[in-house]
């Protein structure tokens, strides 16, 4: 997420941190580079201007220049301003009010409304809500079928009506939901251009008819400078209650995410981070700011882990890791657990400093995980516990058994050994790392 921006900012900061003392000139230079980095990340021009001005103000006010760790201080200021830019606090769904909660999703074509409708349904179903998905896109060919298939997959309610205008579909759906005591109704409306008057009129009509408590704009995270304008137009019509930012799993530069709150004053509520239906996360400004600055997002990582990982197993494993007693068997266990938590590149991005270690998505893609699993699974139990018994002929057998080459087996063993050593070091250095992160909270 926001990899390009992160790399640029890390670069700028490392230059600052290399210096013992900062003079005004180097701060000015850093600000100029921050400005360029943000503009190249498609952040709105005005937002960038304000942002840089505020950092400048704080930097002067806090006497960064006379500080003994001026670089760290600048990073701290940028972090604080980023959090502020993104909206400070996470904004939850507006549950309070009469049931059913009606959520209306709107947006440009191709922003990901239908997929997002299903993702929201999946998230709420997991919270034991009864959900009804409503196909109100009567224009795009097969949009209704797409939503029906997704509703079937999720085993949630689905509502369609043929040959009537979207407004009536929505009203009908809410009536049925009230009758059947459904908790949440999600309206998937057609994609439209914000300058298309009749289509925007249609949205106002739907909103007037069913009075949705949540009116959420689904916005493609890769949108350029136009993001802001589209958001403003939708907001003007519907008085949006929030934004769902999609497709942040690629290398979106982050401009839309960083601009939209500042310009519309409306919070980002969720972000889409993958293709699977569970790849939707609530939006936490502080965590995202932390990810943008390359400080990872340990909080989300831990939450994910808590959801999926067996706690006692994890404790034993941690002990083993610290002592450097990790075996390939534990490693295999880990691989299997990691797979249930999400894709490798998603997880890596939450680890502080992962990008600096050269651990990027292409080095550790999911395909690689499958291969590693195959190799370890082709070993005997003894081999997994005592990798040193692996001589040439055993390695050949394992390669054949796992459909890989001996080089792959060698590489895995080498990497495993390196990792075991790193874990041991990391284990003893844990305390220092915590302190580093602590200063931002």
């Amino acid at each position: 997420m926001f990899g390009t921006l992160t790399a640029r900012l890390e670069d700028i900061f490392s230059k600052l941190q290399g210096k013992g003392k900062l003079d005004e000139k180097s701060v000015r230079e850093a600000l100029r580079e921050i400005r360029l980095a943000l503009l190249e990340a498609d952040v709105n021009y005005r937002v960038v201007k304000d942002f840089v001005a505020r950092i400048q103000e704080s930097a002067v006010g806090e006497e960064v220049l006379s500080s003994i760790t001026p670089g760290q201080q600048v990073v701290g200021i940028v972090y604080r301003e980023l959090v502020r830019l993104l909206g400070d606090e996470a904004e939850p769904i507006l549950w309070k009010g009469p049931m059913p909660l009606v959520i209306m999703l709107v947006g440009l074509q191709g922003s990901g409304k239908t997929t997002t409708a299903a993702k929201v349904a999946s998230l709420l179903k997991a919270r034991n809500k009864k959900v009804l998905l409503v196909a109100a896109d009567v224009y795009r060919p097969a949009a209704v079928d797409q939503l029906r298939i997704l509703a079937d997959q999720l085993e949630v309610g689905f509502y369609r009506m043929d040959d009537v205008p979207p407004k009536e579909i929505c009203t009908g759906a809410v009536e049925r939901a009230t009758r059947e005591i459904v908790d949440v109704v999600i309206l998937d409306t057609a994609g439209r251009l914000h300058i298309n008057e009749p289509m925007m009129e249609e949205l106002s009509g739907i909103a007037a008819g069913v009075k949705p408590r949540e009116r959420l704009l689904v916005l493609d995270g890769m949108t350029g400078q136009d993001a802001v304008r589209a958001a403003q137009e939708f907001d003007k019509r519907l008085d949006l209650t929030g934004i769902i930012m999609t497709k942040l799993d690629g290398d979106a530069r982050g401009g839309a995410a960083l601009s939209v709150r500042a310009v519309t004053g409306k919070p980002i509520k969720f972000i889409g981070v993958g293709e699977k239906l569970e790849d939707l996360e609530p939006f936490h400004p502080s965590r995202i700011a932390s990810r943008i600055l390359g400080m990872g997002d340990v909080v989300t990582l831990v939450e994910k882990a808590q959801e999926k990982v067996d706690a006692t197993k994890a404790a034993t494993l941690q002990k083993k890791m610290r002592k450097g007693e990790l075996t390939l068997e534990d490693f295999l266990d880990q691989l299997k657990q990691i797979k249930t938590m999400g894709s490798m590149d998603q997880l890596l991005k939450m680890i502080p400093g992962a990008s600096k270690l050269g651990l990027n998505a292409s080095a550790a893609n999911d395909h690689e995980l499958v291969r590693m699993e195959a190799i370890i699974s082709s070993m005997t139990r003894e081999e997994r516990r005592k990798p040193y018994v692996l001589n040439g002929s055993r390695r050949k057998r394992i390669a054949r058994g796992s459909g890989t080459r001996v080089q792959d087996v060698n590489r895995l063993l080498r990497e495993f050994e390196a990792m075991r050593k790193m874990m041991k070091r990391f284990g003893s250095g844990m305390r220092g790392k915590k302190m580093l992160l602590g200063q931002f909270h």
Partner: protein
């Protein structure tokens, strides 16, 4: 087909044009600190048109220099400076235009790729119609076997365009669908094959490898194919479009870009860094929701539409 489409393109780019026009007028009539301010505003407008920071700075510098050396310029002159600069920026070593589908290579195979939601299926529908109108027999291959109801959507477009369709069950191997489509087209005498693929994030290594496989398999079905690999880009996407183009190019050796959705606001600017940095030609523009809303790209006309007075 082009006459009406030019009007549509201009309509789509109107916003960009208005925005530039106002800025230039201020630039012309002010001086000193105010002019400095106007220049900055112009830079802002260009960045907001998605031309990228680098290009915006170049154009700004060029204008500044022009204002210094030739006092009292007319609006026309300033527009001329920007036009020339934009065209220069787009004058990358672009490969020669592709041969239109010919008897010799029949069927002429076009592979269409892009990220999710960029408008692949709609753009494919428009291309199908374009070729059908030129008298080609068009076959459409539904190699997006991943997204729910993708085949149904494509089937509707194929029918509208008067093209035939080859599809398999959802979840089928996309390369095998592509192979079938090309083989069937050969057997049944189609002259153009358009292959729709699933939307994929350009950073997902395994999905990009799948695309490479489709390309290889298509080549086995018909030597020389695909004759054209097109990347569909959403015109509202910002500078990320450059990295999309770069990564798809690495896998597919793209022949060009189909720039879709050039009918909203502040569009088109991203074409500049793409041509400039990657030397990839833009072949088509999608300028509306109708099946005929397609037109070939020409840098001159594109810049003209961006700058012409209303």
């Amino acid at each position: 087909m082009v006459t009406g489409a030019f009007g549509r393109l201009r309509g789509g780019l109107r916003r960009t044009r208005e925005v530039l026009g106002r800025g230039l007028e201020r630039l012309r009539t002010t001086r000193g600190a105010e002019r400095e301010h106007a220049l900055e505003e112009l830079e802002q407008r260009l960045i907001e048109a998605d031309v990228g920071v680098e290009a915006a700075v170049i154009i700004r510098d060029r204008l500044e220099e022009y204002l210094r050396t030739s006092p009292g310029p007319s609006l026309e002159e300033l527009v001329g400076v920007i036009r020339k600069q934009l065209l220069d920026l787009m004058r990358a070593p672009v490969p020669p235009p592709l041969a239109e589908p010919e008897e010799r290579v029949a069927p002429y195979v076009v592979l269409i790729a892009g990220v999710n939601g960029s408008g692949k299926t709609t753009s494919l529908g428009k291309l199908a119609r374009h070729y059908a109108k030129e008298g080609h027999r068009v076959m459409v291959g539904a190699a997006d076997t991943f997204r729910a109801a993708a085949v149904e959507q494509l089937a509707i477009w194929a029918q509208r365009a008067g093209a035939d369709l080859v599809a398999q069950k959802p979840g089928a191997d996309p390369a095998s669908v592509a192979f079938d489509a090309v083989t069937a087209a050969k057997a049944r005498g189609h002259s153009v094959v358009l292959l729709d693929t699933a939307g994929r994030q350009h950073t997902k290594v395994n999905l990009m490898n799948e695309l490479a496989k489709i390309r290889r398999v298509v080549n086995k079905a018909h030597s020389g194919a695909p004759h054209e690999s097109l990347l569909v880009l959403d015109a509202t996407v910002g500078q990320n479009a450059v990295s999309q183009a770069r990564l798809f190019h690495e896998v597919l050796e793209l022949d060009g870009i189909f720039l879709a959705k050039v009918d909203g606001t502040a569009k088109g600017g991203v074409v500049v860094p793409i041509i400039r940095e990657l030397g990839l030609p833009v072949r088509w523009l999608g300028v509306g929701e109708g099946i005929d809303d397609i037109e070939p790209f020409s840098p001159e006309r594109f810049v003209e539409a961006m700058l012409a007075p209303q």
